[in-house]
Each structure stands twice: as structure tokens, then as C-alpha cells.
């Protein structure tokens, strides 16, 4: 193999003195060869993005490189001054970022933003530059390049913006592309397209790629080699095949074992006579807006949704952003009012029920939200949050507290924690607390709205396991909303696939996953990264 384009050796980056550990990154070494894709993978806090930023010379001032070298084509970047780094950016190394929504300047046209790179680094005339920008826009497969050139970022979708970012990073054909979680904020089908585009462009140009991700599916899809980071230390480095199929380090084994399998397991059948807890009939939710000139505009957030969940059963609603899956969850929990249709909750139609009568029924359906950091009032102790609901329904404080203590044990937290405040808990622990709060109401239906999406994969696996245990133990009906097909495959008995507000496919999980009927479902499954890859399934 030819000389590496990027060679990081013994890199150590210090954190500010008051941080919880001394190094953001400690003694990390790896290479990226021309035309090679190296994935840096790790959970949040592993230091993977810090490495990416240190290569670009965009490290926060609080972080300092304490030791080691970063060689870009045999030039040590740790010694380069700001002027030299500026010359190298976009010419020898380009970077794309996680949030395409915010990474582009909202008040500049997309074409002008790409053009700025040429203005800065070349002596080309205006006409020539414009032609090159248009060519580049074409190469990232954006339709109608002239129109794209003149568009503002807010007029484009997330995937299109990420393409503009890629065009910007690659227009001067750098030898190294650094991609920092570039598809994390995108839907799975868009993600597949962007990954494909990156693959295509880098192999055409023989670009070395340093790709940062937390998603082993993406790793399997894209990487030639993988470096696994754990709290700033590189624990394993090898070819994708080696690391994913036969990991050697216990941490890597644990991580890979936590990745949910795409193949749904065989699940115990739900008894035929299990009572129906929730049933919706032709549920509709419309948002109406009036505008001058345009008249009345109606957006169907959810249309004609009919689903059914029985006691002890988990129904998954799967879909991309904007598919209406959360709208359904919010209608069912009565956080918003449905426009039409019926919602039967344990025999009562709650869709059009007056607020006063609803109060008693509220108890039967509880919800766990996505963001564990915002789901608990930071000013109230965990105990206060958990007993708030039962107190509303006339339970005595002593009883509610005793119940809360039991629940803390059920969600595997120390009951002593009831007197503490949310900020004293980690994200995974907070999500357990939210589950305990929901259970304190003794609900019949538990709605989990992307409840594990914000968690790291190892924590995610544990929370999923917990939810499953609780459902079995309490014989809850569960409605599980997720965008993640792997997660759905693991936990759901039945899935409903939603697209554009409608349920397009609905059936037992194994049937839907093994033999998808609707073309949208098929496209969705095809897009799932690393679907066919044989991940190691160790027993540890």
C-alpha cells in the first residue's frame, strides 16, 4: 500500500483541568491510506470527534495537544501555524459535519458558499468558478444545479444540504476527507444515499476518508478499517471484517453484542383471548393554517390510522421523521387532540371525550419521551417527580413513596436516589426514572416515544431489556415508537410501518421483516446500514 495520507501517532489531547478526566484522547495512533475509509467508532465521550477536529486544527481553545504528531502527507500539522492550516483546509483536507441543518450559512446562497472555497484558494475568474461549482453540484447528484446554486439552505432538505457540504469539502479534491457523523441527523433512506455518494466520490478520486460514527451498521456498510475508542483510548484497530466479526477487546465485544440484530427473534405468541387495551379506528390529525392568497392549507399529520394493542403485547410504529408516528402517540396520550376517528382505551372512546371525564382515564395510558435530559423537572427531586401523578389521583403520600421505592428497584436504581435531583443521574438512569414515573400511575398502556433513541448503544440495550421485562411482569400493552428498524425488530410483536401520515404495512414483526409487501417498507429495509453483515454475537 502507498504512503498514508494521514498518520496520527501517539496523539494525546488534554482536557481542561476541571474536567472529570485528564485526557480527551490518550496515546492514539492510526493511519489512513489513499482511497481508504477508516471509521473511528465509539460512544459519546469517547473522544472520536476531538480527533477529527484536531486534524483540521479546529480544536476548541480549552483542549490542547499534549503529545504526538498528526502527519498529513508527511507534514506535521501539530507544528503548522494558523496560516498554513488555513491553506491546507479544503485544498488537502476537507470536512463535513453532523448537522447539515445548521452547518450552512442561512443568509448566503448555496452556490456562493461553495464558491467561497474557490475564491479563497484559487485564482480562477468568476465565470470559471461558477462553472466548476455547477459541475461539482452535478457530481453530488443534486437535481437542477443552476437552481441549487441560487437556493438558500432553508429551501433544501437535510440530505440536499449534506450534499452541498460534500461538494464544498471535495471541490478542490483534497487527499483527505473528514466526516464527523455526517448521516446521524438524517433519515435512514437519506443516510444510505449519502453513504453511497461518499463511497462513490472517494473511490473516484482515491480520497482517504476518516469517518466518525457511533453506528456499527454504518461501519459495516462503509469502512475498510475500524478503530474503536473507549474514553479517549484506542482499544481495537483492524479491518472491518476482523473487528466486527471477531472482536478481541472485551469493550468491543460488549459494544457489538449490544447492537440489536436486524433479524427479529421468535417471540412467545400473545394469547388469542388477551383483551384489547388500545384500538384506534381511522384516526386523523390535521393541522390547518390560513394564509393570505393561499387560502386554507391542510396538512395531514396522520391519516386513517387504525391500530390495535392487546394486553402483554408490544406494537411498534416504525417510520422516518415526518411520518406521523409521534403524532399518533401524542393523540393517544391526549397531549394533542385528534381531528377525527376513534381512540378506544380499555373500552372507552377517548377521542372526543370532554376534559373532565378524561382525567380518570389519563391514568391508564402513560408515556416515556425521547430526551432524558428534558423529561424531568430539574428543580424537583426524582421522588417528587415519580409521586406527582399518584398524588393527583388521591394516593396518600406514604403509599406513593413506598410504591416509588419499589419502582426504583424495578428499574434497577437505588431507592435512595429518590431524594436526589435529575442532574445527579446519567442519561440512561434518567430514562429509567421516567419509566418508573410512568409505571407509578399503574397504566395499562405504556407509550415509548423514541425512548431509547438518545441513548448510547450499550445503554440502549439495557433499557430495551428493562422495558421487555417490565412489560412481561406487569402484562402491559406497549406502544413503541421508533425510527430504528433494529430496535423495532428486537422488541415488537407487531409492527406498523408509517409513511406520510399513513400506515403502509401492518403485521407480525417477523412477517413484515422477512417478507415486506409494500414498496416503501422494502426501500426502508434496504436502506438499513450493515443489514447483511454478520456481527459477532459473543456470549459475553
Amino acid at each position: 500500500m502507498s504512503a498514508p495520507v494521514l498518520s496520527v501517532s501517539n496523539l494525546t489531547i488534554d482536557l481542561p483541568r476541571n474536567a472529570d478526566r485528564q485526557h480527551a484522547v490518550h496515546d492514539v495512533s492510526f493511519d489512513v491510506a489513499p482511497g481508504e475509509v477508516v471509521c473511528l467508532v465509539g460512544e459519546s465521550g469517547s473522544g472520536k470527534s476531538v480527533i477529527a477536529f484536531s486534524v483540521m486544527g479546529l480544536l476548541a481553545k480549552a483542549l490542547t495537544i499534549a503529545n504526538g504528531t498528526i502527519q498529513l502527507e508527511n507534514e506535521d500539522l501539530t507544528r503548522a501555524d494558523e496560516t498554513r492550516l488555513r491553506e491546507l483546509r479544503c485544498t488537502r483536507m476537507g470536512m463535513i459535519f453532523q448537522e447539515p441543518m445548521t452547518a450552512l450559512n442561512p443568509v448566503m446562497r448555496c452556490g456562493d458558499q461553495i464558491d467561497e472555497v474557490l475564491q479563497e484558494h484559487t485564482d480562477l475568474g468568476a465565470g470559471e468558478r461558477r462553472q466548476r461549482v455547477i459541475d461539482m453540484i452535478e457530481q453530488v447528484h443534486l437535481p437542477d444545479p443552476e437552481r441549487m446554486y441560487n437556493s438558500y439552505p432553508h429551501q433544501l432538505s437535510g440530505g440536499q444540504r449534506q450534499r452541498i457540504m460534500i461538494a464544498m469539502a471535495l471541490i478542490l479534491e483534497p487527499v483527505l476527507l473528514i466526516a464527523d457523523e455526517p448521516t446521524t441527523a438524517l433519515d435512514v433512506t437519506t443516510q444510505a444515499q449519502i453513504l453511497h455518494l461518499i463511497r462513490e466520490l472517494q473511490s473516484e478520486r482515491n480520497t482517504g476518508v476518516l469517518f466518525i460514527t457511533h453506528d456499527f451498521g454504518v461501519v459495516a456498510e462503509l469502512a475498510d478499517r475500524v478503530a474503536v475508542l473507549k474514553q479517549g483510548e484506542l482499544v481495537e484497530l483492524g479491518t472491518t471484517q476482523q473487528v466486527l466479526s471477531a472482536p478481541t477487546h472485551p469493550y468491543t465485544k460488549m459494544l457489538i453484542a449490544s447492537v440489536p440484530v436486524h433479524e427479529p427473534p421468535v417471540r412467545a405468541a400473545i394469547p388469542e383471548d388477551a383483551p384489547v387495551v388500545l384500538k384506534t379506528e381511522a384516526l386523523d390529525k390535521q393541522y390547518k393554517s390560513f394564509s393570505f392568497g393561499g387560502g386554507k392549507q391542510v396538512v395531514d399529520a396522520a391519516r386513517d390510522v387504525s391500530i390495535e394493542v392487546r394486553k402483554g403485547e408490544t406494537l411498534g410504529i416504525v417510520g422516518e421523521s415526518g411520518s406521523g408516528k409521534s403524532t399518533v402517540a401524542r393523540c393517544i396520550t391526549w397531549l394533542i387532540q385528534s381531528s377525527d376517528g376513534r381512540i378506544w382505551l380499555a373500552g372507552d372512546d377517548i377521542a372526543k371525550m370532554p376534559k373532565r371525564d378524561l382525567h380518570a382515564l389519563r391514568q391508564k395510558v402513560q408515556i416515556v419521551f425521547q430526551d432524558p435530559y428534558r423529561s424531568l423537572n430539574p428543580r424537583r427531586t426524582v421522588g417528587q417527580s415519580i409521586i406527582e401523578g399518584p398524588l393527583n389521583y388521591g394516593e396518600s403520600k406514604a403509599d406513593a413513596w413506598a410504591h416509588a421505592q419499589e419502582l426504583m428497584q424495578l428499574v434497577q436504581l437505588d431507592p435512595e436516589g429518590l431524594d436526589r435531583y435529575p442532574h445527579q443521574f446519567s442519561g440512561g438512569q434518567r430514562q429509567r426514572i421516567c419509566i418508573a414515573r410512568a409505571l407509578a400511575m399503574r397504566p395499562e398502556l405504556l407509550v415509548a416515544d423514541e425512548a431509547v433513541s438518545a441513548l448510547d448503544v450499550s445503554v440502549q440495550a439495557q433499557v430495551l431489556q428493562l422495558l421487555e421485562q417490565i412489560r412481561d411482569r406487569m402484562q402491559l400493552a406497549m406502544l413503541f415508537i421508533t425510527h430504528d428498524l433494529r430496535v423495532a425488530a428486537q422488541i415488537c410483536d407487531v409492527v406498523a410501518v408509517m409513511s406520510k401520515g399513513q400506515v403502509v404495512e401492518y403485521g407480525p414483526t417477523r412477517d413484515v421483516f422477512n417478507n415486506p409487501q409494500h414498496e416503501y417498507t422494502r426501500a426502508l429495509f434496504d436502506a438499513a446500514p450493515g443489514r447483511d453483515f454478520a456481527f459477532a454475537r459473543s456470549d459475553s
Binding site: 491546507l88 483546509r89 450559512n105 442561512p106 467561497e116 479563497e120 392568497g293
Partner: protein, 313 residues
């Protein structure tokens, strides 16, 4: 965009209506009979009764309000009790000095404050930043009449560089006009420089932490370009907003400054009218100032659509 503007213009109507109602009720419902107030101490009760009819005070309140709005729409602001002249012509006389002072001030303030605030943000945490911020908090705390008197005492009385007070019409020579505006505008602009510099600093700092600034740096742009082309341009919306809010403070400032520097503008007219209990004039002036405030903020919303392509409903 036109929809947005249309909506914005429609939204002005209730605001103006509230202004009219508040001003109307304030003058009608305050303790004491306005007719008695107007007629003065020497008036007999017959005089007052006659005046009440003349002023339409015997009509029920809604009718009075309708007459009052109708007259306003016709551009009829009534006649000054005090000077026995149409209010509109008195306002016309006062517009030039007030407008001169206000424009002079706001231009001066922007020219000084925006670069100062940007500099402070760029040099965040250094002594330059602390100096600008220190000036800003002091500038916000010194009353305009104190600054005015300090300037007059040292620059006019002691050094004799500027005239103590007074105003020269622009028609009598631009030089003299500008010369006489220097002191009042300087005094009045201090608070705006403080306000706008501070706002500029805050919004530039906020923008500097945005993702697209990181993108701009990843492109290899030099710091100055990142600052001026990407940061300042995006910080413009909040800066323009604060200028809109500043208009309210400017109007208050104009009243005080005109009083200190004896500039025969609308501010001085307002004070005279209030001291002379000249209600038609007071009423017209409050409405005029409120309308100016509303219209300027409407214009600022129009400017938004030019500054930020995202606002195009």
C-alpha cells in the same frame, strides 16, 4: 413575502386602536372635569357647561370616541386651547428640529456602536472587551440631561467651542445646523451607543458559536472574512431589532434633550402643551409619536425579509 407583509400591516391596526383607546380614555377618565381644567380657575359654572357642550363632552363615551377617531382619520387634530392654532400646523413647525436631532443621533450611534460591539465580541475576554462593556454599562446609567449639562458646561461655557443652546434651521445653512446639533446629538447618542454596542457584541458572539462559522473556518477562510462576511451579516437581525426598540427610548430622549438644549421641536412642544394643559395638542403628539414607533417597527420587519431569506412566508 407579500403575505407576510400584508399580515404584518394588518397586525398594526389593533395596536394603533389600543393606542387610540388608551389616549382617549386617559384624557377623558382622569379625575377632574377636562372642561374645568381647560377653562381655568376663573371660569364660572356656565362657562364650563358651555365648554362641555362645545367639546362634545355631553355625548356618551362611545359617541365621543367615534367622533374623535373620525376627526383623526380626516387629519383633523383639533385646535390648540393655548395658542388657538390648529394643532397640525404646530406639529409641522416642530418636525424639522426633532427629525434632525433624531436622525443625527441614530446615525452617529450606529456608526460608533456597531464596530465597537463587533470589536468587543472579536476580542472577547480581553481588556478591549471589558472597556467597551464597562462604557456600555456606564452609558446606560447616565441620564441624558446630566450628560447634556456636562457637555454644555465644559465645551460651551468653559471652552466656548459650541453654542450653549438653541437650534438653526437647515434652510439657514447646513453648517450652522450641523454645528448646533453636535452637542445635543452626542448627549443623546450615549445611551444608544451603549445599547447597540452591547447588543452587537451579544449577537456576534452568539453567531460565532454557530455551526456555519465552524464550516467557514473549515473552508480555510481568514478570521476577518469569517467575522465580517459570515458573523456580522447573520447578527444583523437582532441588531436591527434593538434599533427598533431604541426608537422608543429615542422619543423619550428627544423630549428631554430638546428641553435641555432649548430646541424648538416636538419634544419641547409636548412639554409646553402639558404644562399649559393643552389637551388637543398633547393627544395629537402622543398619537403621533406612537404611530412613528409602530411604523418604524413595521419598516424593520420589512428589512428583516431583506436580511434573512428564511423569513418569507
Amino acid at each position: 413575502m407579500w403575505t407576510y407583509l400584508f399580515k404584518r400591516i394588518l397586525a398594526v391596526i389593533p395596536v394603533l386602536l389600543v393606542v387610540l383607546v388608551v389616549v382617549f380614555l386617559m384624557l377623558r377618565l382622569t379625575p377632574g372635569d377636562p372642561a374645568a381644567n381647560i377653562a381655568g380657575d376663573a371660569a364660572t359654572s356656565e362657562d364650563i357647561a358651555e365648554l362641555r357642550i362645545e367639546l362634545g363632552l355631553e355625548e356618551p363615551l362611545p359617541v365621543q370616541f367615534a367622533i374623535y377617531v373620525r376627526n383623526l382619520l380626516k387629519g383633523d387634530f383639533g385646535e390648540s386651547f393655548y395658542y388657538k392654532r390648529p394643532v397640525i400646523s404646530m406639529i409641522a413647525d416642530g418636525i424639522e428640529p426633532t427629525l434632525s436631532l433624531a436622525l443625527f443621533t441614530i446615525v452617529l450611534a450606529c456608526l460608533v456602536a456597531v464596530p465597537l460591539g463587533t470589536l468587543a465580541a472579536y476580542k472577547q475576554g480581553t481588556w478591549i472587551d471589558r472597556l467597551v462593556m464597562g462604557f456600555s454599562v456606564v452609558g446606560f446609567s447616565v441620564p441624558v440631561f446630566v450628560i447634556g449639562y456636562i457637555l454644555i458646561y465644559f465645551l460651551s461655557v468653559k471652552l466656548d467651542w459650541f453654542p450653549v443652546q438653541g437650534y438653526q434651521h437647515i434652510a439657514d445653512g447646513i453648517g450652522g445646523w450641523a454645528y448646533r446639533l453636535v452637542l445635543p446629538s452626542t448627549a443623546l447618542s450615549v445611551i444608544f451607543i451603549a445599547l447597540i454596542a452591547r447588543m452587537t457584541r451579544t449577537s456576534v458572539l452568539e453567531v460565532l458559536s454557530e455551526d456555519y462559522i465552524r464550516t467557514a473556518r473549515a473552508k480555510g477562510l481568514p478570521q476577518m472574512k469569517v467575522l465580517l462576511k459570515h458573523a456580522l451579516r447573520n447578527a444583523a437581525v437582532p441588531i436591527v431589532t434593538i434599533i427598533g426598540i431604541a426608537i422608543a427610548i429615542l422619543i423619550s430622549g428627544v423630549v428631554v434633550t430638546e428641553s435641555v438644549f432649548v430646541i424648538p421641536g416636538l419634544g419641547l412642544l409636548t412639554l409646553d402643551a402639558i404644562q399649559g394643559r393643552d389637551y388637543p395638542t398633547v393627544q395629537a403628539l402622543i398619537i403621533l409619536f406612537s404611530v412613528v414607533y409602530v411604523v418604524i417597527n413595521l419598516l424593520i420587519d420589512v428589512i428583516y425579509t431583506l436580511l434573512d431569506p428564511r423569513i418569507r412566508y
